[in-house]
């Protein structure tokens, strides 16, 4: 896999013909640059993880968000204090966007005592409860019901908050999805389920394409079975995601009922950092999607419409790189967890 370094990122900018950026940006320059900074930070963070994994400094499973940055970046732009976020194991971006210290996140991946969850969970289990992150989970389909239950609890407790529930296209065929979304639809009728389902359709569950996983490939439409309305959005266009996120989060917050978004996105890296052969998709397909890289598209837009120049963008990338380098250094230098930690946190005593 060709790692896209921050500087390379700019090169992955679409060629004029494939430009999807004719129309004026709708968001303020300030906002756009902020989104750019967030996405770039995630990208550079993930690339650093990839290297650390290769060097054996990160163990276990490592799933990167490269290519999908615009999704969480867009939806979490409408995070409100008290909202709860839950996702699967591809969870670094969610933690960083919610304000978790990159140092603590990287330290977690390095299995250090200074990690976000004390080195006990690793990449798949990032939690930052005070910031709304109710976890990354490793069992496909397993976390969906948890999010639905959280939405019930929020409504029951009279909080004005919602749950953003992220899951992948592979999870939709799992019984866990079916049972949980049915409960959500049912409870939503009583305004007891302010849950926004964010289906990150990156077209593959590991090596299995949507077409090879189901005869009915309009995944968003599967929410019809549960009385949950839904829409689709282009997950590579951050402005589209932002517009959708604004509407969707407001709707769920008002209605107390669930709503679903099928996000069309793509991971331009292998499923896990340990994977290299990718027989299940062609280099060409990956290349095509790289042309619509969410960071590249935004750069293009910013430059085309003179919202920023190369220099500004380079500066943002360098700042992001500095943050990530610092996180890596912190992780490297942090001590392993104390062995007493082995037996703590099994039970609340």
């Amino acid at each position: 896999m060709a790692v896209t370094t921050a500087s390379k990122t700019t090169r992955s900018r679409p060629s004029p013909k494939s430009r999807g950026t004719k129309d004026e940006p709708t968001l303020s320059t300030k906002h756009l640059l902020e989104l750019y900074r967030k996405m770039v930070t995630i990208r550079i963070f993930e690339e650093a993880c990839q290297r650390a994994f290769r060097e054996g400094k990160i163990g276990g499973y490592l799933h990167l968000y490269i290519g999908q940055e615009a999704v969480a970046t867009g939806f979490l732009d409408y995070y409100r204090p008290g909202d709860r976020i839950i996702t699967a194991y591809r969870d670094h971006a969610h933690a960083l966007l919610l304000g978790a210290d990159p140092k603590a996140v990287m330290a977690e991946l390095f299995g250090k005592g200074t990690g976000l969850v004390k080195g006990k969970g690793g990449s798949m289990h990032l939690f930052s409860v005070d910031q709304g992150l109710m976890g990354g989970y490793g069992i496909v389909g397993g976390h969906i019901a948890l999010g639905v239950g959280m939405a019930y609890a929020q409504a029951y407790q009279g909080q004005p908050n919602i749950v953003q529930l992220y899951f992948g296209d592979g999870a939709i065929h799992n019984g866990g999805f079916h049972e949980a979304t049915n409960l959500s639809g049912l409870w939503g009728k009583e305004k007891l389920n302010p849950c926004l389902f964010i289906l990150e359709n990156n077209h593959y569950g590991m090596g299995t394409s949507v077409e090879r996983a189901t005869a009915m490939t309009d995944l968003g439409a599967k929410f019809d079975s549960y009385g949950i309305e839904h829409e689709k959005v282009d997950g590579m266009d951050i402005e589209a995601v932002i517009a959708c996120a604004k509407r969707a989060t407001e709707r769920v917050r008002k209605s107390g009922a669930p709503y679903a978004i099928e996000v069309n996105t793509y991971r331009t890296v292998p499923h896990g950092a340990a994977d290299f052969i990718e027989r299940y998709r062609t280099k060409e397909e990956v290349q095509q999607w790289r042309k619509r890289d969410p960071i590249g598209l935004l750069e293009q837009k910013l430059l085309d419409h003179d919202r920023a120049d190369e220099e500004q963008l380079a500066k943002i990338r360098d700042e992001a790189k500095a943050i990530v380098d610092e996180a890596v250094q912190f992780a490297e230098e942090s001590p392993e967890p104390s062995l007493d930690e082995l037996t703590t946190d099994v039970y609340v005593d």
Binding site: G121, G142, I144, A145, G176, D345
Partner: protein, 325 residues
């Protein structure tokens, strides 16, 4: 002291705590409008309303998972498994989430969840509806697993379970729902992790939990007529597992017979025998005997089912063996 059935004591514990604590909610199949297929939750929908007594579709994995999510935000859900036989559909949620979230979140969340329902056999429900799962779930750190045997315990242990900040699997002996016993009114709790000496004795320790405890008490009476003075130990809680309580009894009697409805291999009785030989090796005058369910799926026919479960004769024979009589 008023006498209540196991069923009513159980309901009283839940209802009292619901009065005291708004965060307690019930979920399960047909627990509301229907009144509960075993009438455990009968009347609670009218008392507490549909927001707190939640009828669910037939989706054990889904509603157990949802209850875990509720618990993570501070509610105290009590989930009814119509019977524990259906819990295999929720095994992933119980074992992968409820038991482990606190640990892999580095202690950031807790899961104050109770999952309760009847388990065990004896009424010809046959293979798919007859399981005794104390050991099956007890294997997993992060869970607590208890099995009350008396109306007194079922109320006191349910109150402990609801207030416990950890996930508690509460395995009731369905066969005991109608049995009566003295149950104090009001608030009292029975702690987890301490065995109950159901009968004091000096010659042999009879060890079990759930509905077999009553059988052991009956056998003990018969043995008394033979001049055998049996102590009966009710484990009460399977995890935490009270090795101390078991060892204390065996150090006194020097002999033990462990009885269970569940299958023998990799079971509660395996652990009891293992612990005794580990911690009371020199006190043992005979090998620990185990009387378990037959190693077959539960049959339907009455005579086969009877033959599949521990009998009083099997137990007293085992006692005579450990006493070399």
């Amino acid at each position: 002291m008023p006498t209540l059935t196991y069923r009513d004591a159980l309901r009283a514990a839940m209802a009292d705590e619901m009065e005291r604590d708004e965060s307690v909610v019930l979920l399960g199949e047909d627990i509301g409008v229907y009144g509960g297929t075993h009438l455990i939750t009968n009347g609670l929908l009218d008392r507490f309303g549909p927001k707190r007594v939640i009828d669910t579709p037939i989706a054990e994995g889904g509603f157990v998972g949802a209850a875990i999510g509720m618990a993570m935000l501070g509610l105290r859900p009590i989930v009814e498994m119509m019977t524990w036989n259906f819990s295999f559909q929720a095994a992933d949620q119980l074992i992968q989430n409820a038991a482990k979230i606190r640990y892999f979140s580095g202690g950031q969340v807790s899961v104050p969840l109770v999952v309760r329902g009847p388990n065990g056999g004896g009424v010809q429900l046959s293979a798919q509806h007859t399981h005794s799962l104390e050991g099956f779930y007890g294997h997993f750190p992060g869970l607590k697993v208890v099995a009350p045997a008396t109306p007194y315990d079922v109320k006191g242990m349910m109150l402990t379970a609801i207030r416990d900040p950890n996930p508690v699997l509460f395995l009731e002996a369905g066969a005991l729902y109608g049995t009566k016993g003295e149950v104090p009114e009001g608030d009292y709790t029975v702690p987890f992790g301490k065995v109950r000496v159901a009968r004091e004795g000096n010659d042999v320790s009879l060890i079990s939990y759930g509905r077999q405890v009553n059988m052991l008490l009956h056998v003990a009476e018969q043995l008394a007529e033979e001049g055998i003075d049996a102590e009966v130990i009710d484990l009460r809680s399977i995890r935490p597992f009270d090795a101390e309580g078991i060892i204390a009894s065996v150090k006194k009697t020097h002999r033990a017979v462990v009885v269970q409805e569940q299958w023998r291999l990799f079971s509660v009785a395996s652990e009891v025998a293992a612990i005794i030989q580990e911690q009371a090796f020199d006190d043992l005058d005979a090998p620990v005997e185990r009387v378990s369910g037959a190693e077959v799926p539960a049959p339907y026919a009455r005579n086969l089912e009877r033959a599949a479960f521990p009998s009083e004769n099997q137990i007293s024979d085992a006692v005579r063996r450990v006493l070399y009589r």
